[in-house]
């Protein structure tokens, strides 16, 4: 199984947890770190976080399942968050989403057969002046058109190919 988090980072979280009065405050940080390294947070990631911070697994799980940017199921190498909130909706988000679904051949909440893209609807990305918008990783792409989306997907595919 792919490593959940490098040992150096686990040790760092352990040291931080030991030094503070409320180690629970590191739960989101460690879940985010696992996701950044592993791509998503499997059950073992929840257990690892609990063990590292000295808290109960259920306390980690109830946090992990609350947030929509913590993935408790396997996702593709690139998660596309496409905004459907009012500013994006009023400037063509439905058309943008349809184009993404058609181009990728998947519905919302699904992952492409090659495991590269997962498409998720999302609430406002804070890019309302650049609507319609989507986010891949931590990068926000605004003023989307179908041509712009095609170019972005092509770049991301190439980047994933270069990572292998």
């Amino acid at each position: 199984m792919k490593e959940l988090l490098p040992q150096k980072q686990i040790d760092s979280f352990k040291a931080k947890a030991a030094a503070i009065a409320h180690p629970h405050e590191l739960i989101v940080d460690q879940l985010r770190a696992i996701q950044l390294h592993h791509g998503w947070v499997p059950d073992d990631g929840v257990l690892l976080t609990a063990e590292t911070l000295g808290v109960l697994p259920i306390e980690v799980e109830e946090v992990a399942t609350f947030y929509d940017k913590i993935f408790r199921r396997e996702v593709g190498k690139r998660v596309i968050h496409v905004c459907d909130s009012i500013c994006c909706w009023s400037t063509g988000a439905e058309m943008i989403t349809e184009h993404l679904m058609k181009t990728l051949g998947i519905g919302l909440g699904e992952t492409t057969a090659d495991g590269i893209f997962t498409l998720l609807p999302t609430c406002c990305l804070g890019a309302c002046g650049d609507a319609p918008a989507m986010m891949i990783g931590f990068t926000t792409h605004g003023l989307l058109t179908t041509e712009k989306i095609d170019a972005i997907l092509q770049r991301e595919r190439a980047a994933v190919a270069a990572e292998v």
């Binding site: 009065a21 409320h22 180690p23 629970h24 405050e25 590191l26 739960i27 989101v28 940080d29 879940l31 985010r32 808290v55 306390e59 109830e62 946090v63 609350f66 947030y67 929509d68 940017k69 913590i70 459907d84 909130s85 009012i86 500013c87 909706w89 009023s90 400037t91 999302t122 609430c123 406002c124 990305l125 804070g126 890019a127 309302c128 002046g129 650049d130 609507a131 986010m135 931590f138 926000t140």
Partner: protein, 423 residues
């Protein structure tokens, strides 16, 4: 183009972030130096006297909020900056942090001194990784220069700041949910009282303010209360405000404008008018939870009290404009779907009520509704309003109530025709 005094955006340049030397050169950290020559109570009084009202949406007077805080109580206390900013239509804090993050750092150092808190957290939403990095750099610069850390500016006062990256969910903008989120607990809202000023983060007194509010504080310390009050066009108000424009406008940018400017000026002069040469129909004046304004309101002052007088709110001043071809049932349906999806599920009026409203708006929009559905929609609004655990459902009712008040004819049109008349 913007002839109004720029305060928060005075250093802003496209795609650049101001670093410490330039911030200092342009008067940065003079507010902190001025604060350190005053007693903490004097700083609180100055902020109270300035008339600054919270810029996060609620508009509560900042100085009064600070005066509730037990600054003289011994022991740990916390300062929290709310940078969750997940209300659709609102992107002003991101613009501020990307352009000039030291304003927030300086504002937090001043607030920490005034409130005698030695630990501050900046709570940022997941999507704002770009702001996260800039803030971390600004904090490092400030520590090195002696504006943060131990014995700041030789005053004997210590303050440290931490940035917390969240993981997505609108409810985290509610201050007590945010405190649970910072503690690493499931972020449902907490019951009030006790209020955070008495029992907040880790059970200790905590003051929570918005990014824009805290970033405004240094300027008040530097230039004084009279200067701050004169910035507003409305003589009953004070200061400038960041307006984030979006929707069907020719220019959808973030502008710093004086409070009291009219909606017409915002839409026509700054937004460049409605795109495609179409007519203005309606807008959300301050984010997704604020009741609509229509053509009757174009000359209203964009400010806290004038907007309440026309049954709306300034909120975050995220102005989303809709053109004459827009179906307001469809707009309200989209807004309500957002709130229903983002409900934390803690209380029944919010969890079940917003879903029921979504179902009713679907029926109306898709031509399946009867007059009984309209009656039920009105009934549901009454049942939800004032009965939810926190303000999320209350805010969600803003646009729905405004739809019923301003656009009931459109609802009836959908029912009569059995379809959306705008399609």
């Amino acid at each position: 183009m913007n002839a109004y005094t720029q305060v928060l955006f005075k250093n802003r340049r496209p795609n650049e972030t101001i670093l410490l030397p330039e911030y200092e050169k342009n008067g940065g950290y003079q507010g902190l130096r001025a604060a350190m020559k005053m007693s903490p109570a004097e700083v609180c009084e100055l902020v109270k006297g300035s008339g600054l009202r919270g810029r996060g949406g609620a508009g509560f007077p900042t100085g009064i909020k600070w005066s509730f805080f037990p600054a003289d109580q011994p022991g740990d206390k916390y300062l929290v900056c709310n940078g969750d900013e997940m209300e659709p239509g609102t992107y002003k804090d991101r613009q501020l942090l990307l352009a000039d993050p030291h304003q927030l750092v300086e504002g937090m150092a001043i607030a920490a001194y005034a409130l005698q808190t030695q630990i501050g957290y900046i709570f940022l939403r997941y999507a704002y990784e770009d702001c996260f990095q800039r803030l971390e750099r600004a904090i490092e610069e400030a520590v090195e220069a002696g504006y943060l850390g131990g014995n700041i500016l030789g005053s004997g006062f210590d303050v440290e700041l931490h940035v917390h990256g969240s993981a997505g969910r609108y409810i985290l903008g509610e201050e007590t949910s945010q405190l649970n989120g910072l503690e690493g607990r499931r972020p449902n809202p907490r019951s009030k009282p006790p209020f955070p000023a008495q029992r907040g983060l880790f059970g200790l007194p905590t003051n929570v303010n918005n990014v824009e509010t805290l970033a405004t504080v240094p300027h008040i310390l530097t230039h004084g209360t009279a200067w701050f009050q004169d910035l507003a066009l409305n003589p009953e108000s004070a200061g400038t405000k960041l307006f984030g424009l979006s929707g069907h406008l020719n220019r959808t940018e973030c502008f710093e404008l004086p409070l009291g400017i009219t909606l017409r000026e915002v839409v026509e002069d700054f937004g460049g008018g409605v795109r495609g040469g179409k007519k203005f129909k309606a807008c959300l004046p301050g984010g997704a939870s604020t009741p609509y304004l229509n053509t009757d309101h174009l000359d209203v002052m964009m400010d806290f009290n004038p907007l309440e007088e026309v049954e709306s709110r300034l909120g975050t001043a995220g102005v989303t404009v809709f053109d004459e071809d827009t179906c307001m049932v469809a707009v309200t349906r989209n807004l309500n779907q957002f709130f229903a999806r983002e409900s934390c599920g803690w209380c029944t009026p919010c969890r079940d009520g917003l879903s029921t409203i979504s179902w009713l708006l679907d029926r109306i929009e898709f031509g399946q509704a009867t007059n009984d559905d309209l009656a039920m929609l009105k009934d549901q609004v009454k049942n939800i309003k004032g009965r939810s655990f926190c303000a999320l459902a209350e805010g969600a009712m803003g646009p729905v109530e405004a739809l019923l008040r301003l656009y009931e004819d459109e609802i009836k049109d959908h029912i009569r025709k059995g379809c959306c008349p705008f399609n």
